[in-house]
Amino acid sequence: MDNLHIEETKYTPEILLNTDGTISLTGKSYPENTFEFYAPMIEWIKQYFTTSPATTTTVNMEITYFNSSSSKLFFDFFDILEEHSENNDITINWIYDEENESALEAGEDFIEDFEDLNINLVEK
């Protein structure tokens, strides 16, 4: 399985998916067609867990702002992570700027929704 790197654009984040278990999404997220844009990432993560997951998986999410369809997509992404959290050591770092209270709230909402996931709120 190969690493997957998707470059940042003005409206989509940089995505790094590494087979060593380091995953990151950094930037803004309001694609024209969200589900289509993230399809390769979702495909990759499913394959990663079914074939060769690393001992620990760390997901760093640093999204400044995002539209509602991205919110739905992140939910579905976390849902996949939660499905595999019993057999894998998964940590999610929700990284936000100290002044960005709306990003903090979004992170808190995900924590409420995914009690079985280890989500840390990390202030920059």
Binding site: Y30, T34, S69, E99, E101
Partner: protein, 188 residues
């Protein structure tokens, strides 16, 4: 669309710093969002409020891009477009509003959500948002059906109306207000 309508929309709301009428594309939305980022940087509103403004703007603009049924008078082709205006008043309340043409079927789909977001309190809106996001009930090929709830979570007031054009078409106008009082940037 008549650009003169911009004046009617913002009559009492002070300074307009972004207005656009016409065809909408992702590239245009992204360019306008960048312009809003510049405006926000030069004002003293917090990053959280700024991001709420960008998100509401993006939701409204992408809604119009995906659903607007604007039709040229002289041709049959339907293209996505409408009118979007961002303004602020003397007390630094921000207003984001849009107007576009929708079909009667879309009106019927939008109305229950619009009634929710204009009548329920923030806690109830958040609850519906989270339920919809979890269940995926509103999910369609373009999104999660969460847009109006996303907007409601991030603003202080929403008004909307539908104005009949003919049996099948309506002007849909929505106005959102973001209050920035007591939310100014923290001193570093």
């Amino acid at each position: 669309m008549d650009i003169g309508q911009v004046q009617d929309l913002v009559e009492n709301d002070g300074i307009v710093f972004l207005s656009y009428g016409g065809f909408l594309s992702q590239a245009l939305i992204s360019g306008m969002t960048e312009a809003l980022e510049k405006e926000a940087l030069s004002s003293d509103i917090s990053m959280g409020i700024s991001n709420n403004i960008f998100t509401i703007f993006i939701e409204l603009a992408q809604n119009m891009m995906n659903y607007s049924k604007t039709q040229h008078k002289d041709c049959q082709e339907i293209e996505p477009g409408g009118l979007i205006v961002v303004s602020k008043d003397e007390e630094s309340n921000y207003y984001i509003q849009s107007q576009n043409i929708v079909s009667i079927d879309d009106k019927k789909k939008m109305e229950p959500k619009l009634i929710d977001v204009t009548t329920l309190d923030k806690e109830s809106i958040k609850k519906i948002y989270k339920e919809l996001r979890r269940s995926g009930k509103g999910t369609h090929n373009k999104g999660g059906g969460l847009g109006f709830y996303e907007i409601a979570k991030r603003c202080d007031h929403i008004e909307y109306n539908f104005k009949k054009i003919n049996e099948n078409k309506f002007y849909f106008h929505i106005k959102t207000k973001i209050n920035t009082h007591n939310k100014i940037k923290k001193d570093k």
